[in-house]
Every structure is written in C-alpha cells, then in structure tokens.
Symmetry: C2
Subunit: 228 residues, 2 copies
C-alpha cells in the first residue's frame, strides 16, 4: 500500500462525464488549465518543460466498481476484455493516463498553471503526476493497437441550427464540434430521434442524431438549466 495525493487539479469545459471524448487528442481543439497545489506553486517545478510539445498526465478516475473484465465502448459495450487490456476507468488504483499538448504556462489570479490541449478529463479532476513526453522512448507509431485499432471511430456530420450558433461563444464552436463529431452517445443507447444533451463550457448542448447527422438544436446556459 502507498499513499498518493494530488499535485494539481485541472479546469476543463467538461462539467459532466457524459460527452467527454474517450481518449486524449481526439478533440484536440479543446483547451484546459492545470493549476498546481500549494506546495508546487513555485514556477521552478516546470523549468525546462517549455521545450516539450506533449506532457503526460496521471490522474484520478472517479469510479468505484472494480472488475476483472469490462466491455469497451469501442466494441459496442457487449464484448468483454480483461481490465488490463483496456483503458477503462473501472480498474485497480483508479489512475488514468493521457498525453496532452502543452500550449503555454503562466501565473494568473489562481496561481501557476499549464495550458493544455486535447485533455479527456472532467472539470476538477485530481492530477497525480505530470511528466514530459519523450518521443524517443514513448512514441511507437507502428505498434499494433489490438481490438482498439481494428475498430474505426464512428464519426458524424455535425450541423447547428442557426439560432444555436447565435447563443454560443465563437471560440467554443470548433472544440465542441470535435467533441460531437466522434459521437458522444453511450455505446448501448443509440436511438434515432432521441434527444441527448452534453455539458460543455457552461452550456447544456441538446442534439439529435439521425442517418449519420448530429443536429445541435439548442444550447442552454447552466443558469437556465431546465432538463437534467
């Protein structure tokens, strides 16, 4: 047994689990800020990091159940694989691993931060470690990706109702579209004409999916939330 504690927390646009891309770098235009805990607020802790394009995040999966096998969403949620053959959150020690693009660093009113792109983490997630990405030892572009490599991402055409585009800040349109493009619906529930909603950057984004087209029909600020 060993004890671990957060070194930082991340601030992202994803305030709920539903809708978060299932791996990092899929919605690469999404940005997030990592704020260091008190004991690591000294800018010395990131000296030299500016020369790296990517960093590794080790982070806390907020899930309770542990199993020996799980059913990966990529396989439709029906076929079971061993827990150590998946990146599922339902695992011993509840530690997630994500490579994210390092965009900038600085100090703002909250404190020392790293700005990153492509993070697949919920807002407020505890970060246990940050390490530089070393391409000479970490990059294996020709590696076989097992069952996960054989299944292509299902992608959808994303369309916005004109009234929705008026409601959304311009800067979130591109990252939101990337999030929707890879189909955020749960693998076990993909009904045509059903209304779905994901939470992103302060908005409940309502959409339907039909014949490969995802149509965004409304965007409601959290303050005016009507459905749960």
């Amino acid at each position: 047994m060993a004890e671990i504690r957060p070194v930082a927390h991340i601030k992202t646009g994803f305030s709920e689990k539903f809708g978060i891309p299932r791996q990092s770098n899929i919605a690469h235009a999404t940005t997030a800020k990592i704020y260091f805990e008190k004991e690591f607020k000294d800018p010395q802790v990131i000296k030299g990091l500016e020369g790296f394009d990517y960093i590794w995040l080790l982070w806390h999966f907020d899930e309770e159940v542990e199993k020996l096998t799980v059913a990966p969403p990529k396989l439709g949620g029906k076929k079971h694989m061993g827990i150590f053959a998946t990146r599922s959150p339902l695992r011993p020690n509840h530690i997630g691993l994500s490579s994210v693009r390092l965009l900038s660093s600085g100090v703002d009113e909250v404190g020392l931060y790293l700005e990153v792109g492509g993070a697949d983490l919920m807002d407020g997630t505890a970060i246990y470690d940050i390490k530089p990405y070393l391409p000479y030892t970490d990059a294996h572009p020709n590696a076989r990706g097992g069952y996960a490599g054989e299944v292509l991402f299902e992608t959808l055409v994303v369309k916005y109702d004109p009234s929705v585009l008026d409601k959304l800040p311009k800067e979130i349109i591109v990252p939101l579209t990337q999030v929707l493009h890879v189909d955020p619906r749960p693998a076990y529930k993909k009904d045509s004409d059903e209304m779905y909603a994901i939470a992103y950057e302060g908005f409940d984004i309502h959409f339907t999916v039909s014949d490969g087209v995802l149509r965004v029909v409304d965007a409601i600020p959290y303050g005016e939330r009507k459905i749960k």
Copy 2:
C-alpha cells in the same frame, strides 16, 4: 489522499539500480516477466491484450527524497530542471511510467505472467497498473523532446575479454551489450581506468572505459561475489 496497491511485481535481470537503462526500450533485447498478485491471477484480466505490441506500466519508484528541481543525467547532472519537466524518480507520488514490448503471456509455476521486452525496472518492482498502448492517442513521433531531445545518447563500443565470454550464458550477451552500450556510468563520475561493476542476470559485470571503448574484464556470479 488515495491509497494504491500493487497489482503485480516484475522479475528482471537488474538486481541493483546501477546499470539500469534510464528509459524503457533502450536495451530492447532485455526481457522480464510480470507476475500478477493473487487477486488478479485469473487469465481473464489480460483477455484481448495479445493484439497489442506495447503495454504501459505504472510502477513504484523506490526513492525517498522529494524536490522541486532535479539535475537530469542527460545534462551531465549539473543543470537543474523542474521536477515536472523530468522523468526523475525523485518526484511526488513516486510513480514511474514505461512503455514495454509485449512478447508473450502464460502461466508457470509462479502464476499468470506477461513477458515483456525493454523494461527499465529493477527486479521486484511493484506494478500499479498495466494498460494497452494505443498508437492512435499515445504516439506522437514528431513531438519536440525538449532538452532531453537535444542531447544524443553517448554510446560506447563494447568489447569482451575472451575469458568473460566463456563465463556468460550466450542468451544474455546481446541484452547485456545493449545495457553497456549506452554507458551505465553515473553522469557525475566518468573516470578513465576506473573499475566499474553492474549487476545483471546473476552476474557482477566488471568493466573499464577508456577512449570510448567499454571493456568487460570479468563476470562473477553473485554466489562468488568478492566486491560490493
């Protein structure tokens, strides 16, 4: 605070820290076996893993001191970088990250195991997690590698005294040569004509280095160990 516990332990040829390559995949011919703990001995836990070429290991760094900056060996051990800009073991939460090649899996007299190549871990190291390597999200071959990418590995020509080759099992010559090739001497201590020794696969390997040539002068089985 969260508690984590080992899911497995690794059996490698490296019985001492000195001489272990500083990142995974450098001595790619070295092999090791990962044995699962009792609660994960069911072969179900690795179902589906056989289709992946690489796996991630999250493992326990057995180091005590924590600092805000460290002096990476690649920079000669003199220039300090932030702890989150290095892969140093002297870090919060003491978790190491290595990608290793998955060679085989099976069950032997000890139990369920994964056989892997290129592990930079000391014999007996606790493994906290095993995850499949997903090239579509983990591989960034063109990423800038910061200060670590600018410094090339110093490599040495490795020569064996004929008497030493007679003492060593044939199958360890290639991995041992890879370990020695990247110069296992500490960054702060590289004296010509000094006698060094590393522990590998049951032998104390004695060598000297002079003018870019590493000469292996003796190999003493642990049972006959004379020097410490």
